[in-house]
């Protein structure tokens, strides 16, 4: 079991790992997607770089710095975080890890698809969590929007509940999945429609599909998906934290762009450092209580 699992390898996640590893905590960093930092062409307002630095170099240096310190860092897509006995379970496409604490540093990348009707029908047939809401679609026809590992994972959570599952790739590549009640429609989507609740999907070629619900699972799971599934309080898509970077769930911390505010490296580094230090204190207190 890890003492701390950090999700995200940008300035917030890496800073947190530098502190937890130096305090001898068994630290795991998981990352997958490109960090927001990598996209920054040139950073000229960060302390210590008089000629500026490009985002990709800074990002890669951060990763190599934490590796050098001996932090275990793995490029694996995180599918879900769940509460388990004495901590948490973090499932990736390759493994399941158990950890006493989790630091979410997943940035502010949004998965929100720009399809008409999705926002409007949130909670009225549009869902972001198969494991939480699948119950309401027992014996019904549902769609899963997406085509990656996360969409497959959501589909698997619905297979034994829903009558028919249609994976909608919205024009993207068709994933490979075989199950009796799963089919794939690769057509582009025009609109999600209904009266009081979701009733049908209309495609760009004017064809329609009757459904009772649609689960949004485009791209990889991120801040919003993890928060919804765990029950972390958010303000919009931003995780609500206190000055210790604690979320409403004891043992789960958040830092960096995923908590909103200034989208700056300096702020992410500060929050990452704080989260790391607070995890150290939290585990120390926990050990003391257990004695």
């Amino acid at each position: 079991m890890y003492d701390v699992t950090i999700i995200g390898a940008g300035p917030a996640g890496i800073s947190a790992s530098l502190y937890t590893k130096r305090a001898n905590l068994n630290t795991l960093v998981l990352y997958n997607d490109k960090s927001g930092l990598e996209k920054a062409e040139k950073i000229e307002n960060y302390y210590g770089f008089e000629n500026g630095i490009d985002g990709e170099s800074l990002y890669n240096t951060g990763i190599s710095q934490t590796k050098k310190l001996g932090v275990e860092i793995k490029k694996e897509e995180v599918l879900k975080i769940e509460i388990a006995e004495n901590g948490f379970e973090v499932t990736t496409t390759k493994n399941t890890y158990t950890s006493k604490t989790v630091i979410i540093a997943t940035g502010n990348k949004k998965n929100m698809p720009k399809i008409k009707g999705i926002k409007e029908f949130e909670g009225k047939g549009v869902s972001y969590c198969a494991i939480c809401d699948g119950f309401f679609y027992r014996g019904k026809d549902v769609a899963v929007l997406g085509n990656g590992n996360y969409a497959i994972s959501e589909t698997n959570d619905l297979i034994n509940l829903a009558k028919q599952i249609t994976i909608l790739t919205n024009g993207k590549e068709v994933p490979s999945i075989r199950a009796e009640n799963v089919k794939v429609i690769p057509k582009e989507i025009r609109e999600v429609r209904g009266e009081e609740r979701v009733e049908e999907i209309e495609f760009e070629d004017n064809s329609k599909l009757k459904i009772d619900g649609i689960f949004i699972a485009e791209g990889t799971a991120g801040t919003k998906e993890f928060a919804k599934k765990l029950g972390i309080l958010t303000n919009g898509d931003k995780i609500i934290i206190n000055e210790k970077m604690e979320t409403n769930i004891p043992g789960i911390y958040a830092c960096g762009d995923c908590t909103g505010g200034l989208l700056q490296i300096s702020k992410a580094v500060y929050e990452g450092a704080t989260a790391g230090l607070e995890v150290i204190k939290y585990l120390k207190n926990k050990r003391r209580k257990e004695k």
Partner: protein
């Protein structure tokens, strides 16, 4: 006040015919995020006396969940004069709920 357990049997009496607002938490035992909502609901019940606070287990009262279009849990509905007045889908803060009562 303590949190009321609302079922098909007492829904009409406790919610529809109630004087003043009623805050209802639709939940299930298997639902992870509902466990995070639960302490928030308990603390609201302890703190206020101008509204009733209750919980509905959607496994036991599926028709009540369906009647109010609950398709995701936790869902919090504030009833006023027997009618849904405000709905929160997903875990929401104590402040958000209390703000709707004032």
């Amino acid at each position: 006040m303590s949190v009321l357990r609302i079922t098909n049997n007492n829904f009409e009496e406790e919610v529809l015919k109630a004087e003043g607002p009623v805050i209802i938490d639709f939940y299930a035992d298997w639902c992870g995020p509902c466990k995070m909502m639960s302490p928030i609901i308990d603390s609201i019940a302890e703190e206020i006396n101008n509204a009733k606070v209750g919980k509905i287990n959607v496994d036991e009262a599926q028709d009540l969940a369906a009647m109010y279009n609950v398709m995701s849990i936790p869902t919090i509905i504030i009833f006023k004069d027997g009618k849904p007045y405000k709905k929160f889908v997903g875990v929401t803060s104590k402040e958000n709920i209390l703000n709707e009562l004032n």
